[in-house]
């Protein structure tokens, strides 16, 4: 598996994500946001942080960057696309995932280790986890409140698209949602940072399984 790690101006979890992919034995390369094709890659990783400073609205500028079209093509082609934090915000901004990320309820940035539950272990991303398994990933966001209307929520629930929920909701997200997949199951967006949870020395290695499963994409995804 060879992953593209998208670099927008201002992306700051890009190195972390590249290192995560390398750590589980995948190939990975940085790809500039001005790139228009991702055909050479088997999967796409959209890092966290801030794209273009996010002064306007999280992901708004990234949503109209040249590489976005290529990300959509990769998603359409069934390649795995993982957006973490700002990456999740971008995925909702461009419509690859439903809903939106709005300001945390307390209107302050929140950074801490968060206890989460894998509520769907049937995706090709989460197959390595037990159903209902508790994991710890750090969160670090100002706009992490997942918002969607009732109709969208019902559809997410009915299709089993909710993958990760907070055990102690830190931001007001609807029904504690921390991460969702698209209907086809190949686009995953989440606010917490599994790429920061790869070593017990740093607090948690619960993110390892996620990246390991992604390297087995061909076999896993049906």
């Amino acid at each position: 598996m060879k992953f593209a790690v998208i670099q927008f101006p201002g992306s700051n979890c890009d190195r972390d994500l590249l290192n995560a992919a390398l750590k589980v034995g995948a190939e990975a390369e940085f790809v500039d946001y001005r790139t228009t094709s991702l055909e050479d890659f088997d999967g796409v990783l959209i890092p966290g942080g801030f794209s273009f400073g996010d002064y306007l609205r999280s992901g708004a500028m990234a949503g109209v960057a040249p590489v976005t079209k290529a990300i959509k093509e990769a998603a359409d082609a069934g390649k795995p696309v993982l957006g973490i934090c700002n990456g999740f915000q971008i995925l909702t901004e461009v419509g690859l995932l439903p809903g939106a990320l709005i300001f945390n309820d307390q209107h302050t940035f929140i950074s801490r280790d968060e206890s989460l539950k894998v509520v769907n272990n049937e995706t090709a991303f989460t197959r390595g986890y037990g159903q209902g398994e508790d994991v710890v990933y750090p969160v670090a966001h100002g706009e992490g409140h997942y918002y969607c209307d009732d109709e969208t929520y019902d559809r997410l629930a009915a299709n089993n698209q909710i993958v990760l929920t907070y055990n102690e909701n830190p931001n007001g997200s609807r029904n504690d949602i921390a991460g969702i997949v698209n209907e086809k199951g190949n686009v995953l967006g989440m606010m917490p940072h599994p790429e920061r949870a790869l070593e017990t020395l740093l607090g948690s290695d619960d993110g390892l399984k996620l990246f390991r499963e992604m390297t087995k994409w061909e076999a896993n995804h049906v």
């Binding site: 972390d16 290192n19 400073g53 996010d54 950074s111 670090a140 100002g142």
Partner: protein, 726 residues
């Protein structure tokens, strides 16, 4: 005929316009001596910022000279953007602390944000990639609405900048004390790591070499910021809000990456951040260091709007800018690179052999100043200090309700949990943070190695006020304790001297005595000073702040993996290391019960400090003990409450001391956690960590609480103040 309408040289003299810029009559006369004529408006503006306390250290230079600045591992000491220290394997750690007090007082968000941005650029301009941010904050008590407003603004400003640029904020400290009412302190520290071969200097050399400007377009923001930072705050300070700069962390991030890329180019001659006094200090300091002259063509400077005069341009403190000198003929390569990063850049001048800084705008000469005297002949003032009378005070808190004192101290914001603050900072971006804010120093691994850098910051102003000389020693010792508590070997330090007006003899004495003490401690603890900053004139409407030297220190952990798997659990024994003395001058119990600081001697034995610290450090690294917590504000009682609350564990302790001793704050003491029966020098086993309950028994007083009560008070200390909508 000039295209800008400005006061003439005669206007400046006759109307004493220089006085508004912060220059004295004598300083103005000295400018005339240097130039051999009266300065014009641009020139007097340049002298006024370069000779401000902020840029010239005119009142503090003699004190700074006392500090030891060299050592086996020191690769570059003070004088450049930041200090550089060897960490082995041809790598180096680069760090510095800087204040942004005055801007934060009038505009807390931007003041704090640009403080962070500025210190990051200092580190980056040396060639290092930042791996950690720290901050030391002081506010008045949170019972005042204005202090809550300042705390909110400062914390979101620090987070707003640091989170966006993507550098983890891994440690910090804060104290709330009425002396900081209306004059908060915001000291930001940045730590970076680099390959030793890439260390850059801010120098302009080689006649004909080109001067490149890169970063944000220059606007009129922050004009005279350095001068503003060197005055006392007053009712008029609010009107100086335009002197506060505006941060742009997105451009800051692009500039950081672009600068690190530029530093990899062999054709780069020198680079300096445009910080305080912007284009003026960067250009003149680079020329001075390179022993060269420089011509700048200011009409080439990228500007945000039309009609910005050379005076405004030279004094603007627009953020996110760097000045580079590159080899003649290679300028296009750099401009192309910066274009790829989508940054504004332009060639704005060249290095000359004239020894003069000459500023042109559309071929008209606006300033012609000899380079060396501008920086070297800045005035230095040596004033008379006055030693205060010592108070003849005998402390006796034995009759006080010490249980109540305990409750009041742990729920005070100074001693309580700081989650409210540090959870607003991204502390793990980069995925190398081994220890983050919460309880103890930050530890960040050097990417791709087993090494880690421990980093801490602290300042104990009440001790310095009580006894400037020994208090100065203690401030250094306190940070030393924090660093050894991670298992790291302390390497070197940086200082930020926050004081009131040096023109007040008592404050001058505080500066004199405390820096003497600090210098002694640096020698004894083998932590030379490699960088620093001075912030004077910290006075509000009625009084001066407590003397607040803040020390930032870094230490090296050779193999951080020893931390893996250490768990603090019920059944662990708790030890008190060091003798407890009835030392209450500058203590928190004194603040609470007497509402003053007595001027009384505080004792500290630096030799003992060093040997005890290094012994404990080795035991932690070797796995003989699990945790080291230095005893600080609030004494043993507060430290034990914090330890239990942080780990969610109970405590059962009996100490052969008087009840009041629980709140004594003498030096060189630690609470250590280890398995029972461990042999630790100068230590007594005082009890155990338990599943539940919290009890400390002394000869005459017992403090007994539910753990939930203690932890709840500790956790709620700041949130309970911040819930009201101001």
């Amino acid at each position: 005929m000039s295209r800008f309408i400005e006061p003439t040289a005669d206007d400046i003299r006759n109307q004493k316009l220089y006085a508004e810029m912060g220059l004295t009559d004598a300083e103005y006369d000295k400018v005339i001596d240097i130039l051999g004529r009266q300065p014009n408006y641009t020139e007097i503006g340049i002298f006024s910022v370069m000779w401000s306390e902020h840029c010239s250290y005119k009142h503090s230079k003699p004190f700074l000279k006392q500090f030891p600045t060299s050592g086996e591992r020191v690769l570059m000491g003070p004088g450049e953007g930041a200090g550089v220290v060897d960490i082995g394997d041809n790598q180096a750690v680069v760090f510095k602390v800087e204040s942004h007090n005055h801007p934060s007082a009038v505009e807390p968000y931007q003041g704090a944000a640009t403080g962070v941005g500025g210190i990051i650029r200092d580190i980056v301009s040396i060639g290092a990639r930042p791996i950690g941010l720290l901050n030391s904050l002081r506010f008045g008590e949170l019972t005042e609405a204005n202090n809550r407003r300042l705390l909110r603004g400062v914390v979101s400003g620090i987070g707003g900048y640091g989170n966006c640029i993507g550098i983890p904020t891994v440690s910090g400290e804060v104290e709330f004390d009425p002396s900081y009412d209306g004059n908060p302190l915001v000291n930001a520290m940045c730590v970076g790591v680099m390959d030793q071969g890439k260390v850059q200097k801010g120098t302009a050399k080689g006649v004909g070499n080109k001067v490149i400007y890169v970063g944000l377009k220059t606007g009129r923001d922050g004009i005279h910021g350095a001068t503003f930072a060197s005055e006392e705050l007053s009712d008029e300070s609010e009107s100086k809000r335009p002197s506060v700069q505006i941060g742009d962390p997105f451009t800051g991030k692009k500039l950081m990456e672009a600068t690190l890329a530029a530093i990899d180019q062999p054709e780069l001659v020198g680079i300096q951040d445009m910080g305080a006094a912007g284009l003026t200090s960067s250009s003149s300091e680079m020329a001075a260091k390179g022993e060269a002259g420089m011509n700048l063509y200011l009409d080439q400077v990228p500007v945000r709007e039309e009609g910005i005069s050379p005076y405004e341009m030279m004094l603007s403190e627009t953020q996110e800018r760097m000045l580079l000198v590159v080899e003649d003929g290679t300028e296009q390569k750099f401009l192309d690179m910066f274009e790829d990063f989508e940054l504004d850049a332009a060639v704005i001048g060249e290095v000359t052999d004239s020894d003069r800084l000459k500023l042109y705008y559309e071929e008209e000469l606006y300033a012609d100043i000899p380079v060396q005297p501008l920086s070297d002949e800045a005035p230095v003032y040596i004033l008379e200090g006055r030693k205060p009378e010592l108070d003849e005070k005998a402390y006796d808190y034995s009759k006080k309700d010490l249980n109540k004192v305990f409750d009041q101290l742990i729920e005070h914001p100074t001693h309580g949990a700081k989650n409210y603050i540090y959870e607003q900072y991204d502390n793990q971006v980069g995925s190398n943070t081994v220890r983050k804010s919460g309880f103890g120093s930050g530890v960040v691994r050097v990417e791709g190695t087993d090494k880690a850098i421990a980093m801490a910051i602290d300042g104990k102003s009440r001790y310095v006020y009580a006894d400037p000389y020994n208090g100065g020693k203690e401030v250094v010792a306190q940070v030393f304790r924090s660093i050894i508590s991670t298992g790291a070997v302390p390497l070197a330090m940086t200082d930020c001297l926050n004081y009131g007006s040096p023109e007040n003899p008592e404050i001058y004495n505080q500066l004199e005595e405390s820096t003497k003490g600090m210098a002694e401690a640096c020698r004894a603890l083998e932590t030379p000073v490699v960088s620093g900053n001075v912030s004077l004139y910290n006075e509000n409407r009625t009084a001066s702040i407590l003397p607040t030297p803040v020390i930032g220190m870094v230490g090296l952990i050779e193999d951080v993996n020893f931390m893996e798997g250490i768990s603090i659990e019920a059944g662990d024994a708790v030890y008190l290391v060091g003798e407890t003395e009835k030392s209450f001058a500058g203590s928190q119990i004194e603040k609470l019960l007497d509402n003053e600081v007595s001027k009384a001697v505080r004792n500290i034995d630096l030799e003992l400090e060093y040997s005890r610290g290094m012994t404990l450090r080795g035991m932690l690294e070797g796995g003989d003990i699990k945790k080291i917590s230095p005893v600080g504000r609030g004494g043993i009682a507060v430290k034990l409450a914090q330890l239990a609350s942080f780990h969610g564990l109970g405590l059962d302790a009996e100490i052969e001391l008087d009840g009041e001793d629980l709140f004594a704050e003498n030096a060189s003491r630690y609470i250590v956690t280890a398995k029972p029966g461990q042999d630790i020098k100068d230590a007594v086993e005082i009890g155990r960590l338990t599943e539940d309950g919290f009890r400390i028994k002394t000869r005459d007083v017992t403090i007994e609480r539910d753990l939930a009560e203690v932890a709840g008070a500790w956790e709620g200390a700041i949130p309970k103040c911040m819930t009201s909508v101001d």
